[in-house]
């Protein structure tokens, strides 16, 4: 099991390059998949003053994908951004196998 912290940076421009003041951003939606992106669950919808979300107790897997997008105050959604990641098994070494030999 491992705890992760999802962080993000708010966009400062719109898709065609125009400026996007933070006051024009309504919220950010963050989802998480544990099956390679086939299914996502909502981690939360966050206001612009929140730029991180912890998720705890994730088991070891290379199947995780975080998805996020911003929505402006007009209700327009930005493109999804998918970020795959792996939770490695970095737990301590397993037990030795010890045997006794009588030479």
């Amino acid at each position: 099991m491992k705890n992760i912290l999802i962080t993000w940076v708010l966009p400062t421009t719109r898709q065609q390059g125009g400026p996007l003041p933070i006051t024009d951003i309504q919220d950010v939606k963050i989802e998480l998949s544990a099956d390679g992106g086939a299914n996502f669950s909502s981690v939360g919808t966050f206001t612009t003053d929140i730029l991180e979300a912890p998720v705890n107790d994730l088991p070891v897997s290379d199947q995780y994908v975080v998805r996020g997008w911003a929505t402006d105050t007009s209700g327009q959604d930005g493109d999804d951004v998918d970020v795959p990641f792996t939770v490695d098994d970095d737990s301590p070494p397993g037990d030795l196998e010890i045997s006794i030999v009588f030479p």
Binding site: V43, A53, P54
Partner: protein, 168 residues
Amino acid sequence: MSVISRAYLLTAIMLFGAASADDITLNWTNPDQNEQCVDGGVYDNPGGTSIWQLIVDIPDPDQSITSYVIPDMKPGVYTYIATAYNDQQNRSRVSGSATKTVDIFSVIDERAYIVAKINGGFLLLVVGTVPLGTACNPTTEVNGMNAVPASQVTFTGAQDVVVVAKCG
């Protein structure tokens, strides 16, 4: 098959059933009166035969027992009747019947989830499928989902020993 007239049978006992989880509890009221049977003459109006299976015989000359629990019943519909008998083994008419249904608490949506924690609650993440009808643990519930055996899950994502699914 012949019909035998009997004398001084006990009055039929009353039977009430109640199902709890996979146990069935039978409660009854013991008789306090005898009744007498009379010869009804030729049996010329047959209608059929019912076969009953004896669950338990409870010797109780003091009439102190009025309840019996049948444990670990599998899902199904069960109908019970009972009889009392006196010290001469004269048996009463059968009681009224009590019918109880034991439902299986099982998977009704095949999506299987692992459970992670987020601020303020739990996050359920789809990681595979579990066969419909798989028995669920009714005492372990997270966000309306119940624990299912991980050994029954076909994983397509992260694996954990704790897996939940929608049950009913």
